[in-house]
Amino acid sequence: MKVTEKDVAYVADLANLELSDQERARMLRDLNSILGHIDTLNELDTTNVQPMAQVSDRYDSKPGSDRFAYASREDVHEGLRKSLPHDIAVANAPDSNGTFFQVPKVIER
């Protein structure tokens, strides 16, 4: 599979990236090289292999809902890590009015 310059521009736009002509050319090269590698992998027959999005998915032998229970929590507020104090929460925001985070006026979604 090959990507075109048009694809690069489309993906860059979705990712909110402004690329120079040079960067665009480099991205085209890099993306095609990555996809070339994927093409190599695609030569393997994976018909009977479950898709894996998670490495830990492979290493736990407990059955059913107990399997990943360790990665969930009870719905309790006390005793757990608290929310951030308000001033600290907004402290690093590029812009805030002390109460809210602020961004340039949003007109459309």
Partner: protein, 489 residues
């Protein structure tokens, strides 16, 4: 609603609408779906936030088990099949109230699928899927000194657990959409997993709508109607949008696939100026979360928490208490009310009389005053008490009516008014009653003859006449006895 006068009836009937609904429901957990921040509504802005729901680098989500339980409960109540394994996925888009740049949702492996809701018709509307996801924050565009230049963001809502319920495109009218939503809300309320409060945004609805010539198989181009905050407005928005689409097609135009906002004041929808490629979310599995496994053991644990659902309860109330379907619907308007009614009815000597009083005496008075049954001055307990008083013969039905009127006048419960009136008793004065009965017997010789000839059912006629003469004040039991005695003798 702003209907077009130009659109002829024949043009309207030439087309049929196809509607699909997406409903977001906020789950009533104490903490957020992936962190332990509070979900409380109305707290000061940006006080229930932490590195996870602010999307700060390096923070990792941990799934709230209660959110899963609630979502499964809702899915079961909506007749869905629960997938043993479901996968969280990232939905990528940029918006200031979405701090991570993606929303954690579910995509190709949702929590539940293949459900349905029955609406009057009867018609079964399919539910394609029900999945878990996190809410975004809230953008405020107005009400600030610099609102013309800036948008304010409150992230308290960011990470609050939601379920998204997607219907099949099987809804064929705005009325049907309204029914579907009403039933959906009622079922969710019964499960107790959400308060479904539309003002606070706990229930939100988007509608996909298209029209096609009647009989055509393929769907027309759809538009998505957003920003509608009541079921009534959704019905109106759909009515408007269907007419608009027919008009465009009839005048030779084409429908553009777009998102449209409903303006309730004008009763119109407006297209949003949006980019062509707005809907490419590039979903991929969320690497920070493990697969969600809900096995049979867990499913059966959760199934035990499922209450009797409104439809089943209505059917049972009709069967158990001999009330009409309409009254069963009134009494099941909320689970709390239905519970109150049943507790009261069961505590009374004659449960059916309680149901009948609600139907005959309470409902009409409430309607006349424009009150819902939850606002009734007479509680279910009061109805039960009054039913027992009539049952034991302490008060007549005429007296009950008067006491009910006083309750509504004074806006006080039945028990209070009954005390205030000095626990009135109906007359047991037999001499006055006997005199009335003698008069009734004397003026109806033909019926007396029938009775004495063996047609005992005629007694009912005499009891009726006596009750009428006493203006309902007489004790019916006593009248029964006396009439039988007099006629027999």
């Amino acid at each position: 609603m702003a209907t077009s006068p130009d659109l002829s009836v024949s043009a309207r009937t030439k087309y049929e609408p196809v509607i699909g609904l997406e409903v977001h429901v906020q789950l009533l957990t104490v903490t957020k779906i992936f962190c332990s921040c509070s979900t409380r509504f109305g707290d000061p802005p940006n006080t229930n936030v932490c590195p996870v729901c602010l999307g700060l680098p390096g923070a990792l989500p941990v799934l709230n088990r209660k959110a899963v339980e609630y979502a499964v409960l809702a899915a079961m109540a909506l007749n869905c099949r629960i997938n043993e394994t479901s996968i969280f996925a990232r939905k990528n888009y940029f918006y200031p109230d979405l701090p991570k740049g993606y929303q954690i949702s579910q995509y190709d492996k949702p929590l539940a699928e293949y459900g349905w809701i029955d609406v009057p018709g009867p018609k079964r509307i399919g539910i394609t899927r029900l999945h878990l996801e996190e809410d975004a924050g809230k953008s405020l565009h107005e009400g600030f000194p610099d609102a013309d230049q800036k948008t304010a963001i409150d992230l308290n809502r960011s990470g609050v657990p939601l379920i998204e319920i997607v219907s099949e495109p099987e809804i064929s009218s705005p009325d049907e959409a309204y029914e579907y939503l009403t039933r959906l809300k009622e079922i969710i309320l019964y499960t107790g997993v959400s308060d479904c409060n539309m003002e606070e945004g706990s229930l939100r609805c988007d509608a996909n709508v298209s029209v096609r010539p009647r009989g055509q198989k393929e769907f027309g181009t759809k538009t998505e109607v957003k920003n509608v905050n009541s079921f009534r407005f959704i019905r109106e928005a759909l009515e408007y949008e269907i007419e608009r689409q027919i008009e465009v097609i009839e005048s030779g135009g084409r429908i553009t696939q777009e998102t449209r906002l409903y303006n309730a004041q004008e009763g119109k929808t407006y297209g949003m100026r949006s980019k062509e490629q707005a809907h490419d979310y590039r979903y991929f599995p969320e690497p920070d979360l493990l697969p969600l496994v809900v096995d049979e053991k867990r499913r059966s644990e959760i199934r035990k928490l499922l209450p009797e659902l409104p439809e089943a309860r209505r059917k049972r109330l009709v069967a158990d208490y001999g009330i009409t379907e309409y009254d069963a619907a009134v009494l099941t308007a909320s689970k709390a009310l239905a519970d109150q009614f049943e507790v009261a009815a069961k505590s009374a000597t004659n449960p059916k009389r309680v149901a009948n009083l609600v139907q005959s005496e309470l409902a009409g008075r409430l309607k006349a005053k424009g009150l819902s049954i939850e606002q009734s001055p007479i509680s279910m307990k009061g109805v039960a008490q009054s039913a027992d008083l009539v049952e034991s013969g302490a008060i007549s039905s005429k007296m009950l009516k008067d006491l009910y009127d006083l309750s509504f006048e004074r806006n006080k419960d039945f028990s209070v008014v009954y005390e205030e009136e000095g626990r009135p008793q109906q007359s047991r004065d037999t001499s006055a009653l006997e005199k009335t009965i003698d008069e009734v017997i004397a003026s109806n010789p033909k019926q007396v003859e029938q009775y004495r000839a063996g047609k005992k059912t005629v007694a009912v006629f005499f009891v009726g006449q006596v009750m009428k003469a006493s203006k309902g004040q007489a004790n019916p039991q006593l009248v029964n006895e006396l009439v039988a005695k007099k006629l027999g003798g």
